[in-house]
């Protein structure tokens, strides 16, 4: 018998757990390619100790929000990266269409009048 084995459970027992756990998930979980359930995807935002905004750090799988926060702590703050974490269900994020890049993002180009480039600096004003 394997020295790491549990005398009362078959050696393959641990691998089966993931097919059971997702039932705790709030939303119906999608099926993986084995036909079993997978945990939903969460996006992770971490605020560093410098007091800046939360920035997107990556994503992870978790059965629910409480576990997503803990997984985020384990995956994305293990090198002392942050003092605060947000997790957001990935499907709650609406994103712009990469194919619409021209219509969405090229319009502001060349419109330098939208920047403060035409103003002359007042004399005698420091730190401007």
């Amino acid at each position: 018998m394997s020295p790491h084995g549990n005398p009362e459970e078959p050696a393959s027992a641990a691998a089966e757990i993931k097919h059971e756990a997702p039932k705790a998930s709030p939303a119906p979980a999608p099926e993986d390619h084995h036909g079993g359930n997978v945990w939903p995807l969460w996006e992770v935002f971490v605020r560093s100790s410098r007091g800046l905004s939360h920035v997107h750090a990556g994503s992870l799988h978790a059965p629910d929000a409480a576990m997503a926060l803990r997984n985020a702590r384990d995956l994305y703050t293990r090198r002392n990266e942050g003092v605060s974490i947000w997790v957001v269900p990935a499907d709650a994020i609406a994103s712009s269409d990469p194919d619409a890049k021209g219509a969405f993002f090229e319009s502001p180009q060349g419109k330098d009048y939208r920047h403060a480039t035409y103003y002359t600096k007042s004399e005698g004003v420091k730190h401007l």
Binding site: P7, A13, A15, I17, N71
Partner: protein, 303 residues
């Protein structure tokens, strides 16, 4: 500061390098800042021992050996989950907990070794089975995920109560190690309690396995709270606490989680124990063989 101190107290340029790259907008840098932070490290304790700043009494060293062996054997057990956990995220979670435990083990063993002019490696890799002082709970097989969670649940609630009290130890090094460890163990409590609740409240199968896990693990709970001559002497000196004094808080806090999970404390007879006297189950030999083989095949090797 002598050259040796400078050499071993610095954190290298990890902080400067990565933070600098991030600030300059290097696309390959992490989106978040990485720093090693400031905390008591095993290397700091080894340095104090080596330079004679800290030296445990024989009793304290023997006590540190117990705590260090508990953490070391558990770290070795938990490390086996890496690449084998139910999910990648849990792989990392158990790996982090294993590394926390390894850090505690290194600190305690580095300090203990000061009494006998031995290094942490001497103690971890070149002692024989009967010289290990870990309790039987820590060498219990991983089993399935629920068995590991049951073991981790008991360990973390026990260690939290222990380290919480040891922060008041009259032995400054024991108090410092405990102060660092107690915060990490607090997270281990949360991790295992979350899983106990989910496994117990998940499916019929996950609940059955959680109950089975506690049934397998609970016989080894009693040994954790047994006093002996050493702990009595150390408790009187204020350097340690009697293990039996942790039992009421352990029972109350684990009882709250078990109650929320709708689980009973298993009604199982206690195992004989004996780990503190070097009497171990058949499992420890396998663990030591795997853990020690490389160091014993290549004594003095470094990498």
């Amino acid at each position: 500061m002598n050259p040796e101190t400078q050499e071993t107290t610095g954190h290298g340029d990890i902080s400067v390098g990565v933070a600098g790259a991030g600030a300059s907008g290097d696309g390959s840098a992490s989106a978040t800042r990485i720093t090693p932070g400031n905390a008591l490290r095993p290397e700091d304790i080894a340095l104090e021992v080596r330079t004679g700043l800290a030296r445990p009494t024989e009793d304290v060293a023997e006590y540190a050996l117990r705590l260090g062996d508990d953490a070391l054997i558990l770290a070795q057990r938990l490390g086996h989950w890496i690449s084998r956990a139910p999910e990648l995220e849990e792989d990392v979670a158990l790996g982090n907990i294993a590394l926390d435990q390894l850090g505690h083990a290194r600190s305690f063993l580095s300090y203990a070794g000061g009494a006998w002019d031995k290094s942490e490696d001497d103690l971890a890799y070149f002692r024989r089975e009967h010289e290990f002082r870990s309790a039987h709970l820590f060498e219990q097989p991983n089993g399935d995920f629920a068995v590991t969670i049951a073991r981790q649940f008991v360990v973390s609630y026990y260690q939290f109560e222990l380290y919480r009290r040891l922060t008041e130890s009259t032995d400054a090094t024991i108090a410092a190690i405990a102060a660092k460890a107690v915060k990490e163990v607090d997270y281990h409590r949360d991790h295992s309690a979350q899983w106990v609740l989910r496994l117990a409240g998940g499916t019929d199968e996950s609940r059955r396995r959680m109950i089975n896990g506690f049934k397998l693990i609970w016989p080894y709970v009693g040994e954790l709270f047994v006093d002996d001559a050493l702990t009595t002497r150390l408790a009187e000196a204020g350097a340690a606490v009697e293990p039996s004094s942790l039992k009421a808080d352990f029972d109350r806090l684990t009882g709250e989680v078990l109650k929320e999970a709708g689980l009973e404390v298993p009604d199982v007879p206690a195992a004989p124990g004996g780990g503190r006297r070097g009497q171990h189950s058949e499992h420890l030999g396998y663990i030591l063989a795997e853990m020690q083989v490389l160091a014993r095949e290549h004594p003095g090797a470094s990498w």
